[in-house]
């Protein structure tokens, strides 16, 4: 077996024996991917070595997993009306995801197959490391209207209400299902979405997709808190991947929550938030800090010295962002944030088409995002941002083992 010094199989090494049979591939994956999903995998060295994140587990990877550097998020619409065909796609996707997250090529690989046929894998990730790729699937409200699933739609998966200031573009909103691809190498993330979209042709179509760079929230508190495009540290008090009690309380759907098929799952809200970058940049430092309720350099809450000092909300202006978004202002509502900055070039007026692609996981959308976002109606930051895309998804539990598949608990009657 070909392995590099770090003990991680490179894509190039793995693809070489794509045709040699699955037994060899499975053995390699077992040896190389030894880490577990939550808690223990907070390994600062993992990003450097391009390690693989375990695909199997009780929860899907890509939620509590330490946040990777890059994102490619895609929302799909289902075009097939054949439930069996859709289930087959979910199984095919699961198998492809299992391979790609382990750093392997899809199907029979990217070359060396029949010369008359296009290769199964598109090839641009050959030779690249797994790069901590995670692939996370979610089901949108509209999916439950198809395939006669209305009675299985979770109560917590509501259609988001209209919030003050929303300027949503239908072409960047909604979707029957989504795939969130996170990786430290953008090419690995894009490769994953591209190949899943290709496998899905004829059954699903991409409705919209978003590239993200520069994680804006961390689930690893020991690491430096990343900054958003406004230059402020973001997600200081985010839920850490190691905080199993807070994850159970705020993120994972519990057995008693129902429906049963969602146990171990979560709910995802995705919002494309455009920032008015140019006007923000012309705003005085004092006003910027007042708007956030933290200082720009250290990230300390108003009146405090250190970033992680407990904020004293009443010291902040009533419309300060941190004050309004804080759990204490929202009956304890806490979201696991996993957003990314985006810059899609410039708009027709020469302004940066940039902002935050906000991703938040929660146990119940009604008690999570909805409550917080309603409270943000008076947020001073609203002058500089605009929500232009929106989607909500039920994220089913993890794929347990090699025989399991994404969405089995929803589509199999046993669940």
């Amino acid at each position: 077996m070909t392995q590099d010094r770090s003990g991680i199989p490179s894509r190039r090494a793995l693809i070489g024996w794509g045709g040699a049979g699955l037994a060899l591939g499975a053995a390699a994956a077992g040896g190389a991917v030894a880490m577990t999903r939550t808690g223990e995998d907070v390994d600062p060295a993992a990003a450097e070595t391009g390690a693989a994140v375990a695909f199997h587990g009780p929860n899907q990877a890509g939620i509590a997993t330490p946040v990777q550097d890059r994102l490619h998020f895609a929302a799909f619409d289902v075009t097939t009306t054949d439930r069996a065909e859709f289930v087959r796609l979910l199984k095919d996707w699961t198998e492809a995801a299992r391979r790609m997250t382990a750093g392997k090529a899809v199907g029979e690989g990217g070359y060396g197959g029949l010369p008359e046929a296009p290769p199964d894998d598109t090839g641009e990730a050959l030779g690249l490391k797994p790069s901590r790729l995670t692939l996370t699937v979610g089901f949108g409200p509209s999916l439950f209207e198809k395939f006669e699933l209305t009675d299985r739609r979770p109560d917590a998966l509501i259609d988001l209400p209209k919030f003050a200031g929303d300027a949503l573009d239908a072409a960047r909103s909604g979707g029957d299902l989504c795939v969130q691809a996170c990786a430290d190498d953008p090419q690995v993330a894009v490769h994953a979405i591209r190949n899943l979209a290709r496998i899905g042709m004829g059954k699903v179509v991409i409705r919209w997709s978003q590239l993200g760079f520069g994680k804006t929230s961390s689930t690893t508190p020991d690491a430096q808190t990343p900054r958003n495009l406004m230059g402020f540290k973001d997600g200081t008090r985010n839920i850490a991947g190691t905080e199993t009690d807070r994850l159970d309380k705020f993120v994972w759907v519990g057995e008693k929550d129902g429906p049963a098929w969602m146990t171990g799952g979560s709910y995802l809200v995705a919002r494309r938030i455009r920032m008015h970058i140019e006007t923000w940049d012309r705003t005085s430092l004092q006003e910027q800090e007042d708007i956030f309720g933290r200082d720009k350099g250290e990230g300390a809450p108003v009146g405090k010295a250190k970033e992680r000092d407990e904020p004293f909300l009443k010291a902040m202006l009533p419309d300060a962002h941190v004050r309004l978004a804080h759990p204490d202002s929202n009956n304890g509502s806490t979201l696991l944030r996993r957003g990314y900055s985006f810059t899609d070039g410039t708009d027709g007026l020469g302004r940066l088409e940039a902002g935050l692609f906000f991703l938040a996981y929660q146990r119940d959308v009604r008690e999570g995002f909805v409550r917080v976002q309603r409270n943000l109606a008076t947020d001073a930051l609203n002058e500089y941002i605009q929500h232009v895309g929106s989607a909500v998804f039920a994220v089913p539990p993890g794929v347990r083992d090699k025989d399991d598949w994404w969405g089995r608990t929803l589509f199999s009657e046993e669940a």
């Binding site: 296009p118 290709r198 004829g202 179509v205």
Partner: protein
């Protein structure tokens, strides 16, 4: 040529063996003697040591005893190349190996590397008698007739169009434009295989090569399309272009029957037609002035479907699931296209500038849904 290599030969290796550096050439000849055909080329003769050999691995031991640089080919009866060796200098030896199946072949020496060469017959017998599936031969023959029929049917329609242009009748020319292109669009990969006709009749302004002057070098349908819809007038130059179009299309009509067509090229041609739709028609680039893109779109899909239907009996045996999927996706795309014409027996489609963004995406999604499985058809007929 590519298809021949893929379907007939499993391995082709070329061994260069200049006498100066290989002292053991004679010995290796003796060892594998019955699989070797000695070819002695001079400036006027091509002598081969065998006229018949059993199927399988063969080796040509070539010696150029002439004064000119030569090349040696093994050819199918229709001149497709099985294998070749070029640039064999005077006084040098070269070796070529190939896997050949039973059939009639010719060995050709081309002293001076020009012309048809001096030829010797070679009969390959027995072995794995794996002549091409006769159903595939029938498919190729049927597709060849189809391509000819399309060209034959196009000429009168193109002449109607050209006559209207020459008469300076703007409205009549506009009306005759799209119908004159249908047969061409159905069989475009065949026409493109000639290399020289497509740039004369179907090039768009942005498709001109560097150094070409749109005023002088842009000919064919799309130049006239621009005159009719954009400039809204017919010039004397346009009338000349209309005549030239008929000349070029007549050339196509005369040559289309001789095109090199194989099952693989038919399958790949079907995929290419969908590629044409995906990159040119769905975006509205092909018919940017007339907006008759959906007519071309429909013709491309029909041409792809023709290839597919002819290859289907063999494809079904090799990959039944693929055939089921292709049947489904062709039907879905046909149904979607029919939404854009009031009368399904007519080729009068909605003007593409009236097709909105969401509808274009729907068309694009349907093209992807068909083209992705269609890209697997070649492998299903080459198995």
């Amino acid at each position: 040529m590519r298809a021949a290599r893929l379907s007939v030969l499993t391995a082709v290796t070329v061994v260069s063996a200049l006498t100066a550096v290989t002292g053991c050439t004679e010995k290796s000849d003796a060892k594998s003697g019955d699989r070797v055909i000695n070819v002695t080329a001079t400036d006027s003769k091509c002598t081969t040591s065998a006229k018949q050999i059993s199927a399988g691995h063969i080796e040509l031991a070539i010696e150029n005893k002439g004064s000119k640089v030569t090349e040696v080919y093994v050819l199918f009866p229709d001149d497709r190349v099985v294998t070749e060796r070029e640039n064999i200098g005077p006084g040098t030896k070269q070796r070529v190996t190939a896997e050949v199946k039973a059939g009639e072949y010719q060995i050709a020496c081309k002293p001076g590397m020009k012309g048809d060469g001096i030829r010797q017959d070679l009969k390959v017998t027995g072995g794995k008698v794996a002549a091409r599936d006769p159903r595939l031969d029938q498919a190729v023959a049927a597709y060849r007739s189809y391509a000819q029929e399309q060209a034959d049917a196009t000429l009168p329609l193109a002449k109607t169009f050209a006559a209207a242009v020459e008469a300076g009748d703007l409205e009549a020319a506009k009306k005759a434009y799209a119908p004159s292109r249908i047969g061409w669009e159905r069989t475009e990969p065949v026409a493109e295989s000639f290399g020289d006709i497509d740039p004369k009749v179907d090039v768009r302004e942005d498709g001109l090569e560097e150094g070409q002057d749109p005023a002088k070098d842009w000919t064919g349908w799309h130049r006239l399309e621009k005159s009719l819809w954009q400039d809204k007038k017919i010039t004397a130059a346009d009338k000349t272009l209309a005549k030239q179009l008929i000349t070029d299309l007549t050339d196509w009509q005369n040559r289309v029957g001789k095109a090199e067509i194989t099952p693989t090229s038919m399958a790949n041609g079907a995929k290419e037609l969908l590629d044409e739709v995906a990159t040119g028609k769905v975006t509205g680039e092909e018919e940017r002035y007339s907006h008759t893109d959906l007519v071309d779109f429909k013709a491309n899909v029909e041409g792809a479907q023709k290839s597919y239907e002819l290859l289907k009996p063999v494809a079904k045996e090799n990959d039944a699931a693929l055939v089921t999927e292709l049947d489904k996706q062709f039907a879905a795309l046909d149904a979607l296209l029919d939404k854009y014409r009031p009368n399904t027996s007519s080729y009068a489609f909605t003007s593409y500038d009236k097709v909105g963004k969401a509808d274009r995406k729907e068309l694009s999604d349907a093209v992807n849904a068909l083209a992705e499985p269609l890209s697997k058809l070649a492998a299903a007929v080459a198995k």
